[in-house]
Symmetry: C2
Subunit: 565 residues, 2 copies
Amino acid sequence: MRQSNFFMPTLKETPADAVAKSHQIMLRGGYIRQVTAGVYAYLPLAYRVLRKTEKVIEEEMAAINVPEMQMPHMLPATLWEESGRLEKYGAEMFRLKDRHGRETLLGPTHEETFTEIIAKNLKSYKQMPLQLYQIQTKFRDENRPRFGLLRGREFVMLDGYSFAASREQLDKQFDDEKSAYEKIFKRVGVEVRPVIADSGTMGGKNSTEFQAPAAVGEDTIATNETGTYAANLEMAVSVDTFKQEPEALKDMEKVATPGCESIDQLADFLKVPATRIVKSILYIADEQTKVLVLVRGDKEINEVKLTHLLDCDSLRTAEAGELEKITGSGKGGVGPVKADYADKIVADETVKGLYNVVVGAGETDYQFVNANLDRDFKVDEFADLRVANEGEPDPVDHLPLKFTTSIEVGHIFKLGTYYTEHMNAKFLDQNGKAQPVIMGSYGIGVTRLLSAIVEQHATENGVAWPKEVAPFGIHIIQMKMKDEIQSKIAADLEEKYAKYDVLYDDRNERAGVKFNDADLVGAPVRITVGRDAADGFVEVKRPTDEKAVKIALTDLDDFIEQELD
Amino acid sequence: MRQSNFFMPTLKETPADAVAKSHQIMLRGGYIRQVTAGVYAYLPLAYRVLRKTEKVIEEEMAAINVPEMQMPHMLPATLWEESGRLEKYGAEMFRLKDRHGRETLLGPTHEETFTEIIAKNLKSYKQMPLQLYQIQTKFRDENRPRFGLLRGREFVMLDGYSFAASREQLDKQFDDEKSAYEKIFKRVGVEVRPVIADSGTMGGKNSTEFQAPAAVGEDTIATNETGTYAANLEMAVSVDTFKQEPEALKDMEKVATPGCESIDQLADFLKVPATRIVKSILYIADEQTKVLVLVRGDKEINEVKLTHLLDCDSLRTAEAGELEKITGSGKGGVGPVKADYADKIVADETVKGLYNVVVGAGETDYQFVNANLDRDFKVDEFADLRVANEGEPDPVDHLPLKFTTSIEVGHIFKLGTYYTEHMNAKFLDQNGKAQPVIMGSYGIGVTRLLSAIVEQHATENGVAWPKEVAPFGIHIIQMKMKDEIQSKIAADLEEKYAKYDVLYDDRNERAGVKFNDADLVGAPVRITVGRDAADGFVEVKRPTDEKAVKIALTDLDDFIEQELD
């Protein structure tokens, strides 16, 4: 491609509203332009990276025999009514009516669409195991789109679905997809950590996220240094090392704690460590169930874990007025003693094994001291309901947890039969009995992956694209367009190396302009054809090299082969 | 790809609601499934054809140095307000509001989006000529979606745009695109006719449609047998061979013609040929201008030509009550004499050179006879405003016009400066003067093209895909899955011919099922591995062959090479 024909509007200044490095580089390099909030045009440079990324995905999916297809973007709302997700999905779903008034939506994901096709077209166990995928534009009306392609309202995603007649088939499908995903991320040059992720009610091993560490990530992962444990902070488990020495149980006593609302304030006022305080927070699950949740004073409640324990769709803490109305107490005074208003009392495991603790007295500005589990208050269910903290021991090798911000670039998930039961996708098993198909779902944020690549491969003035996804493998820069020898050599190289995808800067621009643009193009190999070309020499530079190096044209093949094959 | 892993739900029966042959085959073969009216899922077979078609397009666009990119699907309504098309586009546009209430639309086409990007990023004549294109899903809320992929509400389109600093640059761009399109259609195996098409107000040479003759086409093209003339019927010109012998002008006279509303009735009643009658029809342009249109009684008015002459956005005939109110007469009596209510009187050229004609008398059930142009009524403007008829001489070589139904698969168009002027997309020319960029637009209906290919290549029981777009180049059918020799040979062939894309039917199905499915897959080469495999023989069959032919495995390379290279 001749650069004079190429559309790559570079910017000298970094746009003020771009915070993420990847966003800045993609705007400066003319990769993308915003068309409306969180909605981008992929200009030719970005489109080339996108297509090459898709090609890697397609090759790895073909390698595990998964056919590609394409669902529509526009879906009838009735599909989502069947699955029960239409209203649950909320404001993030773009909805519209067609000219006949039919409720329509723009697909944010496609579990329903695939389940429906399977329900109508798959009848027998003989047709399974079956896997399918698509690479497609998705739509989610994010409240706060940000960081360029990292969190947009219109984005490209790979979404795959597996259909199995048995749990064993599902396990094999899941493992195949997992290893394909690992290859994909490796080939596109992104360092990822597979981590334990939120998996609804199905347990940790059924859901894996691929997290790419990056300064601008919206997720936090908790890992130990040997890599034997890695989890999304939402799901991270840590070992609680605190042990209270056994004590004789004292009589429970009500004390005034005027103005104390936080654990710190209480600990100060009562002169006790936070570990002697039990925090009580009232949650409302599914807008109806009142759940009092207890955790030791030095820990925080993890609402993802709590949601799983309660198996609820919505969860929130009680609001100020509501809290007082239900419990008879303001925030600081809520406690588990005689909390008959609660439909259920659950506690983190840290609440076990404590003696003579402080709990809210059910009255604003009052606490009970010397309260004791089972004697003074009861817990219906214990579970790990706390947020893990950095430095705490991991649950596998008891090494300190380290936190890293990262970008979720993929997620694979054993769905089970939720959708197939709701949408009646059944097959006849070997005994002729109708069974719900067992599903898995698999996703990669393709445009988000572009951001992750740039985050991990940014250079001082641009980017160093990994060779498999670089928009161009070779960037030829001719210094003087009027020099016929240079033109001849540049054009010859362009032709000779065509298979690597060559961008040939044939513009009548100053060298500085050309080099700045080249930093933004980030081709793995830059060849400068200048003054020495007549003597059989050019210069080569990799994006991460400090300086270009003079090389004989006769040695160029070896260099290119080494860099690009 | 092993067929046991492939998702291709074939149907034994032709679905009753599928009228078009291509629609029937694509449903029966498990190529597509409707998700909602006019909105289809492209299952793996169709998706493979789609991607191969796109690859052909991408290669031919790269060959003329046009970079690919991708605009968003969701667009802000403000963009279309700028161009003035937001309301004009009407009910075919899908519109929605985002969570913040912002007016949003789903792109039916992208002139605005490209013009806007150019307006913001292209500043100088040095950056032109520039061409760009995308292959993308488009959305149009057709009132009556039909014929499968032929007229859908969500479909894939190539849309390209060119930007030029001069008319000469535009002409070159247009010619390049035209020849690239011709190569594309040739490679995907569709016979097309480039025809003169509706081009707004810019004249015939500025707009070419690529029409694929097919039984189910929604368009009609008028061609002569040597191919020197070809036009969409909307724009087709014919030579009028009628000549009236000169006569002395007689006095005009009003006569009663009770109940005569049509030309046939009038001609019968007055005993004159239709060629002696001038038909007058009142049109309302842009809901305000009253235009009386005259045409000789044996011809019909072509509203596309009329729209161009009037340069109006909307055009309709006056409704019954309205007509009477404006003209004082019902349908049969409207005429050009003293038609002062008309803002303009225009006539087809057939109204010239007539003597003593019949025209409406401006009164229901009355006509003037012996009316004469200029003496009794005036015409403000003459033009070709009539529909061409089959058999009339073409305007180039005066050969009889032949009509063919066909599918519009492509359209290239010199847009000029309409959008760039409305959206202020200006560049500085060599003299530093701001000028509007000169645009062209270029389109191929990609999913529609799939229908056209199938329409033109349907066989009795399926389709014979042209090799460049066949979902698979080779279909290997193993007769007995438990036969180890067959399995070995089939697997060897699968590996050996992998580069041609092999589908290997490894299912435990009866031969009849396998062959029926193979007819629907339509691979250019089918290889049956059966009983004779042990002796070194297989059978080969092309979709258009009556019977399979036995061939030695040692001769297979030659056959495959000949068919597929």
